[in-house]
Amino acid sequence: MLLEELLQNLNGIRTDALAALQSAKTDAEIEDVKNRTLGRSGAVTALREVMAKIPPESKREAGMAFNETKNAIQNALNEARERNASATEAAEAIDVTLPGRRPAAGRLHPLTKTIQECCAIFRRMGFVAVTGPELEDVWHNFDALNAPLNHPSRDPQDTFYMPDGRLLRTQTSAVQIRTMTGMKPPVRIISPGRCYRRDTPDATHGVHFHQIEGLYVDTSVSLADLKSTLMTFAGEYFGREVAVRMRPSFFPFTEPSVECDFSCVMCGGKGCGVCKNSGWLEIAGAGMVNPKVLENVGYDPREVCGFAFGFGLERLAMLKHRIGDLRLFSDNDIRFLHQF
């Protein structure tokens, strides 16, 4: 009698549970079925007590039926869970092509990038980047640099003057004078920064521009050292083999003076519109520091000598990024800035 009742109960629980699992749509429904049947106070679990009362001769049959029911419900549960999981997954699917949430990241101005790239290259060669005032006196900007009194660059036509006779520096060599005045050789510095020239602004001129000047003064420094330094720089900055050509030139600050051309970074020297078919780009003015300049900062030109060079950063950036108009740099259009 007891056995029959048990078997019937088990059967009933199983049928109900399987039907419920069949139609269960959510995790909660499935777990509910589990709780009602196999859970701690579930119907199947409750039948354990009945099992204890089953006479020994029927125990085997009862045990088998009990386990069978339990397994059937467990299997159905697993099935239902799996079925439901894949359904949930499908509902979880998202459009992975929607834009990601970018952490805010600002960008440096292309001129700053250029300055920093140059500084990094020269630092690897042992140079230190120094800065100085933009409002300069005539001594540091012209006199100490051996610019003759009648030099056209001194003309108010070309240089911005203040009422007291000081000026907005026309090159960053003034910083070199300040640095040399304050220290003993060896000196190996670069001075990046803003300079001013009284030009009417257009596509290739502005009232301000940026340059880097380099200076190396020591007991034996040669023109050959200068060439190698600039060659190393050119190759690293443009990321390709760049030939450097030197031509005699004239700057009051240096003697001998040279004009440094880089083989055209556009055409590799074959000739193109950018290099006006010459294969060369005029990049830097350079030379061996004029002995008078060394004297002006209290060095003895019989004991030390040095090289100096300078070039425009706008031009370098324009060449590297093929920017055609200087004014873009100070226009600061965000669509321009975001390209760098």
Binding site: L98, L108, G126, L135, P156, M231, E255
Partner: protein
Amino acid sequence: MKISFKWLKRYLDLPLTPDELAAKLTMAGLEVEAVERSGSVPEGVVTAKILSREKHANSDHLSVCKVDKGDEVLQIVCGAPNCDAGNVVPLATIGTVFPDGDGTFTIKKGKLRGVESFGMMCSARELGLGNDHDGLMILPPETKLGIPMNDLLDPDVVYDCSVTPNRPDWLSHFGVARDLAALLDSEIRENPLALPEAMDNVPEDPALVSVEAPDLCPLYAARVVQGIRVGESPDWMKQALLSAGIRPISNLVDITNYVMMETGVPLHAFDIRNLKGGKIVVRRARPGESIVALDGKKYDLTQDNLCICDEEKPVAIAGVMGGEYSGIQNDTETVVLESAFFDPDSIRLTSRKLGLATDASYRYERGVDREAVLAAGRRALSLILELAGGNYTVRCVAEAPKPEPRKITADFNRIRALLGMDVDDARIVRILGKLGFRKETAENVFTVPSWRIYDAMGEADLAEEVARIYGLDKLPDVHIRAMTADYGLDAFKVLEGLRADLTKCGLDEIVCGSLIDEKSATADGIFEPGDLLRLNNPISLELAIPRPSLLPGMLATVKRNAARRCCDLAFFELGHVFCANPAKFPEERDELVIAMTGRRHPERFSAESREVLDFYDLKGVLETLMDLRRVKSFSFESAEDPRFVKGVCAVLKIAGRQAGVFGKFVPALTRGFKLQTPVFGAVIQLENLLSAPERSILYQPVSQFPVTARDVAFLAPRDLENKAVLDFIRNAHVPNLESVELFDVFEDESLGAGKKSMAYSLVFRAADRTLTDEEVNQAHERLRGKLEKGLGVELR
């Protein structure tokens, strides 16, 4: 300076093509900026004779010709009206390359309306030999066939050279030739400055010239030639002048110009009829004097201006330009030829002051070779006698004592070391000798030639000459010597670090101009007109003031971007600013300016994309910046500032010192901006930021014990600042309180007017044990009580 290839060849052999010579000159320091060819045609154009002409079957205007080019008869289709049989014409054979605008165009075998054509017969214009385009260029019938057209022509190449200011000796053809002789290691064949002095053997008339300002005119020579005939110059001279860019006028004027272009010494010729008293006085102009120069303009002269005068008045501005009425006329018979040396500075000053620059003043101010002055006069004299006839009758040379020639002692080892080039002693001596630096004794002492005294001062200059002639292309590649750098000096590195931190905060860098106008400079209510530095010689009023702040440039940049519909902006700029009022700021300092406006996440979608930046975004940037820079102690306090809206403005204090101010810009500063969103900004004094004491990084042990969290929420008066609450809690010294964070603040009508709700989460943790609930509850309760009493808030 225009230099003609043909002209140069008069003085020395040039075993180079014009292109090779251009490269040679450039590499020697005389930069050839442009090469113009005249009188030459492309390679491949040859002479040819038209044998027959037939009408083209499919065209009204084309003809089909058989043309003999010496070694071959070709069929050519031609559209010219005069392609008649028997004519000898230039023929561009297949492969000839013509210039075409910026590019080129090549003659190819082609078909014209079905008939094959093997070249092109040319007009004068097509060959660049003139303007005639009515028909083919017809050559003399006896012309040999099949020879290059260039053999019939006399082509020239003119170099447009840029002469550096240290080389006035390059401002003449002979000067360039002299340098080339050293460069090519060849000899000067003909020296126009070496005519025999004997030809100058005429009576000296000291009364002819009186120099009253020998300081400005140390040498003046006047030579009188009578009975000349003014007329046209011969073709060779006209062509030479044209190649140098000078218009031929008459033989006398042309000769003076020619000799200037040849030797670099400017000359002048006066008609003696126009010299009152028949004599020349070289003196400073007197007050009130003026002159009408050859350009027809009247110039008022001052004592600074040296003049060539007759007995009464100036007849020329010395070294610059002659007077309108004193020069050569068509009927001039007696000429006074001037060759002189003037002080370069005096000529420069006069030229600058009068705004009058000429070929002569250009040469004088850069420095004429004083030693060449008499010889150049002789050269002109001989050309006058040859081309205009006449008799050389009398002369006068007034000369002040000459300066001693400069001598330079050279240490060849030092020259080699300076250049890093291995040039032997003999080579150095030879190079310098070729350039005119004479070595007269066994010591290495060199006498500087008269034409190089403006440049060659010392050993370094000799080194330059050696490098130039030996060839800079022979510089060896060397290894860069390693050197330990003192990066403590590297002020730029600090700024690089700051810039990197600013970009990490999501700001884009801008770089604005330093010169602005007064209105923008004073718009911010901080700077008065008296605080501004001013340029003495601005280019315009818009660019007259060195910026007192980066703010005007920043605001202009925001405005400009907004006008272009770029409205989500977060910018910073870092740069020098200037102030004339030491009570306000140092004269020159570094400033950092930030501006932010628009959406917080413009690239995101849905609700996030509509979030608009507010004050706390800017403040967060500053907080992150302080954190990245490890600023040890900083705080924010509400403040008032004319640039920012009252109540939405705060100062950033670093170590108790004000480092910057920020907030929402007042409407006056953003008026006219095409923006829907408010603009926030910060102005920071870099000095105070960079000098901030740095928080050192010392490891703090991390507690292994769990946290216990509690909240506290209360109603507070609207004006109770978060900072006041935090400071209060900090000062309450609550045991084991690890952190306090505001997690909610809101205002609502239901809370009552002037009230707001604030809620803080408190985290308790001990370093050495797990806290009991009891301990925490006790601390929490005690804090609640203190808040209620101390801050007068209503606990919720």
